[in-house]
Amino acid sequence: MEMVLIAVAYLLVFAVAGLYLVLLERKVAAWFQLRLGPNRVGPFGLFQTMADALKLVSKEMYGTNRADKFLYNLAPYFPIITALLAMAVLPFSAQFQAFDINIGIFFLLAVSSVGVIGILLGGWASNNKYSLIGAMRSGLQVVSYELSVGLSLLTMVVLTGSLQLSEIIEVQKNGWLIVQGHIPAIIAFVIFMIAGTAETNRAPFDLVEAESELGAGFHTEYSGMKFAYFFLAEFINMFIISAIAVIVFFGGWLSPFGITEEISWFPSVLWFLGKVLIIVFLMMWFRWTFPRLRVDQLLNLEWKYLLPINLFNLVFMAIVVWLGWVITF
């Protein structure tokens, strides 16, 4: 019974987060682009994305002729399932975490890199050259940037000494890790944000679905709910990357400077969501401001700059921890 309740709760969080992040993106985009954004369906357009989802559900499934039917139909489930799996270990608050496994961060990384299989399969099985180019780009991109995401988080694990998410948050009772780890932590955060944006295939790293080059990239041939799975997964992944950033760098559900430590009724999940939304906004800011990189520049950035910086940063962090230069209050 308990499990069912948890499952329902998570599915609800999943759906609400997905739908409202789409709305938020559209509102933020409109704000950047001197427009109003959706404002017709419901107050402030609050029901716009629900109406869109309803449309997508009721749409006819329409695919290409000589596609590999099995893989084509299988592909959309990869991103959505991996996103759900990753969601399960996120600590929304002290009490609200489905699985608190002792390899939390490792699990998140492992699961989030499985999602790319869906993109590769989708691009391959669609029997479309544009989709294939998109899928190959996505392969390149995720394999490369996975390293930076992993290494920047590893840098922080050196500081915390634990992979368990609840413990990582516990350590931050005396100051967020970005303050505790000062310079190396800030470097790790910047690299994590760059690599995380790349992992979620968002601009300026949206080569996978580069509209002006490839039409819609790997999901060109998908329609209806199958397209919606890819679309939704992108937004959930953005949420997950932001959540990891908040957990590892900004104290998760802890309030800043222990403001609400004494107030027992204040739900700490609000702190968590508030911080996540700030990071999400940052990622949206990137998307609506920056042009897109070229595919060779994308790889140069990772292998020539981010990876070496990251490795040095890891050593730097180890030295900082070894010499006890950590800032705590």
Partner: protein, 373 residues
Amino acid sequence: MAEIETENKIKSEEYFVNMGPQHPAAHGVLRLILTIDGETIVNVDPDLGYIHRSIEKMCERDSYQQIVHLTDRMDYLSSHINNEAVCLAVEKGLQLEIPDRVKVIRTILSELTRLASHQLWWGVMGMDVGALTTYFYAFRDREMINDIFEETCGARLTMNYNIPGGLMYDIHPNFVKRVKEFVAHFKTKLPEYDRLLSGNIIFINRTKGVGVLSREDAISFGVSGPVARGSGFASDVRKRHPYSAYDRVSFKEIVMNEGDTLARYKVRILEMWESLSIIEQLIDNIPEGDHLVPTKAVIKLPKGEFYQRVETARGELGVYINSDGNKNPYRVKFRSPGFSNLSALNHVAKGGKIGDLVSIMASFDFVIPDIDR
């Protein structure tokens, strides 16, 4: 398809992709047959004809007043300048003395058209390299120009304001005021364009050294307009062969020598400043007088050949009229800038990535109906 052998004896094959006729980066129905090796472009083969409307043939059927209306549909972003080109050619044939007022108004409108076209190009250029926000900034400012056009001649895109002999109507009483408002507004907004896109490190990486067209190649491909001037080929018709009121204004011809996408980008941005300065010089002293020299209802050009070139937003537009003395021309030929510029595309895009091709195409600023006619 040529087979390529890599060092490890893995065989890879070139493949071809149809970019267009329906493609977000083509801005129309241009079909590019790409031969690609992985992401690298081996060959670009433009396939035309998807929006061919046989405008030149239709010109042989129509009277000279009617031809003007057809030219709107070629380069629809410089429609006023196209109209002007035909009118100038016909006026040359009739040896009409055009009043100063008409010349000045035509020049102001031409520069406004150029500004509107460059604004649209800037928005689309940003969009093609992935910065979607530029589009809306550009359209905010372009809207003001379109409003001016709408008030002046009732249309926002296909103006039909020029007729052989002058202008269809006199300008609207608000014209001067609104143009001044626009110039003041756009002078504050043009630096914003630079802040949003020009200095961005990703944008510079995407454009610097990409699609280099040398001066010699530019000349031998017959490239004109901002593309040629980005390659160091000073070919501005407004400077070399002044028409209308261009001989009485002072402006710089923007020339850059790098020849890459960034140079073409900068040329257009700086050209917008020059256009603003031309408008400012003329707007305060529009001479009084007639807006039209009456012509006969049926215009018959004397037997002979007449040629007029103008500088549209995309380059040199030439209008060639061969008349046998009838009310219709015997043959009309348009030398459109887009067609010549397109011929250089394969040369500059070879060896680049797919992303490069998109940014090069954006910097060439193609309008497909202008290429196909």
